[in-house]
């Protein structure tokens, strides 16, 4: 009997723990101190420690504004929820760098200030890059840089299959190239179709390249894009494990040297140089030719709402310092990002010519939450990656998968 009670207590405890941990109770986060001379700063760059150039830049910008900046780095998937919890507890950081699609969610939560309210000018930023941070016509952050997706190709594999990368400008040309590559015993293309935001991010260039509309997932254009991916997987032009690939594992596949094409981002440039084979980059083709709009990636500098509004003046100085042209150049070089302003982009391309296709890709790119989509995007995106998974795994046809996704997105209770 004693054993029984102990066991029951253990059971109660286990489940309580599991339930609470899985369903998010309240969690403390180190927040800002009321100290007027110390400003808190959060970013999603845990790869940069205190001695990195980025951390030093953050510190210097604080010193220039006459305060000490206390920087904390979080994992990027964690930062959005951390920010919500911190705001709930009333200790949001003074300045925060967040992934661009999270901005509209945080604005919806009412925890970000308009840039005009804190006095940070955003006029020089490219429209399509700042788009992800614009809600109701007002920008709520300044992009620190942008990245996007393109197709990396392996020159050796294409040469062996006698494919000219310059000819790959439409879907048909791309599929034909993949067939040729497969015919010589190499592998076609790898991408990430995993059931998370990454999967949607990678699918969007094809979806938009067919002129798909995120508010009508199931129209013929969307189906065409999903059918393209499905046919590749069915015909063995793309491996079956794309369903489980993150962008990192997809890159690892491409880096084996077996694949002709790999859909990946600007941030892999440094790894591409280490891959050990000659590579090139082309824009992702739209269905009928030209470059498809890819989604923009990259972070925004934001100023969360504080009780003490007097702090905004100093926060604005820190933001302006971080996004000044000179600092953007060094930051975006470190991050391997494309700068959000024309003038810095010119400096980047003159320093490194290999960035040219990326600057063009960013110019054609689109924010995921742009065009007034805002917080409807996360809901749609979740259904979209679900449809991609259902179609590629063969549990539904592309048409019925997208139909179900559209229905679920439309019925979603906000």
């Amino acid at each position: 009997m004693r054993l029984t009670r102990t066991a029951l207590a253990a059971v109660a405890v286990c489940t309580a723990l599991a339930g609470a941990a899985a369903c998010g109770g309240s969690g403390g986060a180190p927040g800002n101190s009321a100290d007027a001379g110390t400003y808190t700063f959060w970013d999603p760059y845990p790869q940069f420690d205190g001695s990195s150039a980025w951390a030093k830049l953050v510190g210097t910008c604080g010193t220039r504004a006459g305060v000490t900046v206390k920087r904390t780095a979080y994992d990027t998937t964690d930062l959005g929820n951390k920010a919500l919890l911190a705001a709930q507890q009333g200790n949001a950081p003074d300045v925060m760098l967040v992934d661009n699609p999270v901005v509209s969610t945080l604005v919806d939560a009412g925890i970000l200030n308009k840039m005009t309210e804190v006095g940070v000018p955003t006029g020089s930023i490219q429209q399509n890059i700042i788009g992800a941070g614009v809600v109701g016509g007002a920008p709520y952050g300044v992009p620190i840089g942008a990245n996007t997706l393109a197709l990396y190709y392996n020159k050796n594999v294409l040469a062996a299959a006698h494919v000219d990368p310059a000819s790959v400008t439409t879907w048909d040309a791309l599929t034909a190239a993949l067939r040729k590559v497969k015919a010589v015993g190499r592998k076609g293309i790898t991408f990430s179709a995993i059931g998370t935001e990454e999967g949607s991010f990678q699918f969007l260039p094809w979806f938009w390249g067919a002129k798909g509309d995120l508010t009508h997932l199931d129209d013929a254009d969307g189906q065409a894009a999903l059918s393209l991916w499905k046919d590749w997987v069915d015909q063995g032009l793309a491996p079956n494990d794309v369903l489980n690939n993150t962008q990192t594992t997809s890159w690892q596949e491409f880096a084996t040297g077996q694949y002709a094409f790999g859909e990946n981002g600007t941030w892999q440039l440094a790894n591409a140089k280490k891959a050990g084979f000659p590579y090139g980059v082309i824009a992702i083709p739209a269905r009928d030719g030209g470059a498809a709009p890819a989604p923009t990636g990259g972070e925004f500098v934001t100023v969360p709402v504080q009780k003490d509004t007097a702090r905004y003046a100093t926060s604005a100085k820190i933001v302006s310092c971080l996004t000044s042209d000179a600092n953007l150049l060094s930051t975006d070089t470190t991050l391997s990002y494309v700068a959000p302003t024309q003038s810095v982009q010119n400096q980047q391309t003159s320093a490194a010519a290999e960035l040219k296709p990326w600057v063009e890709a960013v110019a054609a790119a689109r924010g995921r939450t742009s065009d007034g989509l805002g917080t409807r995007y996360p809901v749609i995106s979740q259904q979209l990656w679900g449809a991609v998974q259902a179609a590629l795994s063969g549990s539904k046809s592309p048409a019925s998968a997208l139909e179900a996704a559209q229905k679920a997105a439309a019925n979603h209770q906000s």
Binding site: C14, A18, A20, A22, L106, P239, D241, S381, A390
Partner: protein
């Protein structure tokens, strides 16, 4: 629960009563607790003082999170009302929403298949290994230690390793199948195999736990029983059937129950290996709850908490069932 129990058995240590103890309060207490015969007031205070840290701990880390989870599931949360803390009470709306969701039936079915299949094989293999190692042959301790490895590895390591091994393009499992002349299997990416794959990995992880507990249970069975049985001419199977298994029943019950609780809430293994995919093919209530709460850019805290609470209720149900069985056995 354990606390009151232990307290009831031993009672607070009696401090020699002082002559100046307040007789009024002593008699009042005497009516509550006859063992505390007119002890000084400080003895009761001391008892509470000893209890206070535990009560505070249980309250802060178990009761409050549970309350918060229940509260989350009964309110209509948006990101804005989450921050401002003014979410309107919405009764059972979140529960209605998740139960009507197409994922619910799949997740519930997967949870039961995952749990029952895991427990069955973990227990069966664990028991077989425990009986095997109980013979104490040479190298037995070494081999037993080797079997503990899955338990010692961090879950992220074992889950990632399984995920690599089962990769449909470059995994070692498909390579072995290929060498044996079989076609490739899309372990993690086919809707018909994904659940099986995570179950296999979970069985492997759960065997050591069953092995250790059942092995220690076997040690408590007196060797004379086996000697007597063999004198009576019982063969090995009969010995297992008539001695080992019945005498192991209390230990088995606790092993299976704890396994049940562990397995119901398994999240990390599935998340790392398949993210609950493809589609919902390997989603369980635990992964679905996480996905609702944290898996997208726009968290749905209310429905996520509702699924978590359903999971807690299921676990509680099994706990009560276990107690019922125990009561019947002890009568």
């Amino acid at each position: 629960m354990t606390i009151t129990h232990a307290d009831g058995r031993q009672g607070p240590p009696a401090v020699p009563g002082g002559p100046d103890a307040d007789p009024g309060s002593a008699s009042a207490r005497g009516s509550h607790d006859r063992r505390d015969r007119g002890g000084p007031w400080s003895s009761r205070t001391a008892a509470w003082a000893f209890l206070a840290p535990v009560i505070a701990y249980l309250g802060a880390f178990y009761a409050y999170p549970l309350y918060r989870n229940a509260d989350l599931s009964l309110r209509h949360y948006t990101v804005r009302s989450f921050v401002q803390g003014d979410a309107p009470f919405s009764g059972w709306d979140n529960f209605h929403q998740v139960v009507r969701d197409a994922t619910f039936a799949t997740a519930l079915r997967n949870t039961f298949v995952f749990t029952l299949a895991s427990i069955l094989f973990q227990y069966g293999i664990g028991l077989a290994l425990a009986v095997f190692f109980n013979r104490n042959f040479r190298l037995a301790p070494t081999l037993r230690a080797l079997f503990l490895i899955p338990w010692l590895l961090p879950l992220i390591v074992s889950a990632s390793t399984w995920s690599w091994m089962l990769n449909s393009e470059s995994g070692v499992v498909n390579y072995a199948l290929h060498l044996m002349g079989f076609g490739k299997v899309d372990w993690l990416t086919s809707p018909s195999w994904a659940l099986t794959s995570v179950i296999i990995a979970n069985i492997w992880i759960g065997i050591p736990f069953n092995l250790v507990i059942l092995y220690s249970g076997l040690q408590t069975i007196p060797a004379e029983l086996y000697e007597a049985a063999s004198l009576d001419g019982a063969n090995t199977w009969q010995q297992f059937r008539r001695i080992t298994f019945p005498l192991l029943r209390p230990v088995s019950a606790i092993t299976v129950l704890l396994g049940l609780i562990y397995t119901l809430k398994v999240f990390d293994l599935i998340w790392i290996m398949t993210r609950g995919g493809p589609g919902d093919a390997s989603s369980t209530l635990a992964t679905w709850s996480y996905r609702l709460g944290f898996g997208s850019l726009l968290p749905a805290f209310g429905p996520g908490a509702a699924v978590g609470n359903i999971l807690i209720l299921i676990a509680l149900l099994f706990g009560l069932l276990y107690i019922q069985v125990q009561r019947r056995q002890s009568r």
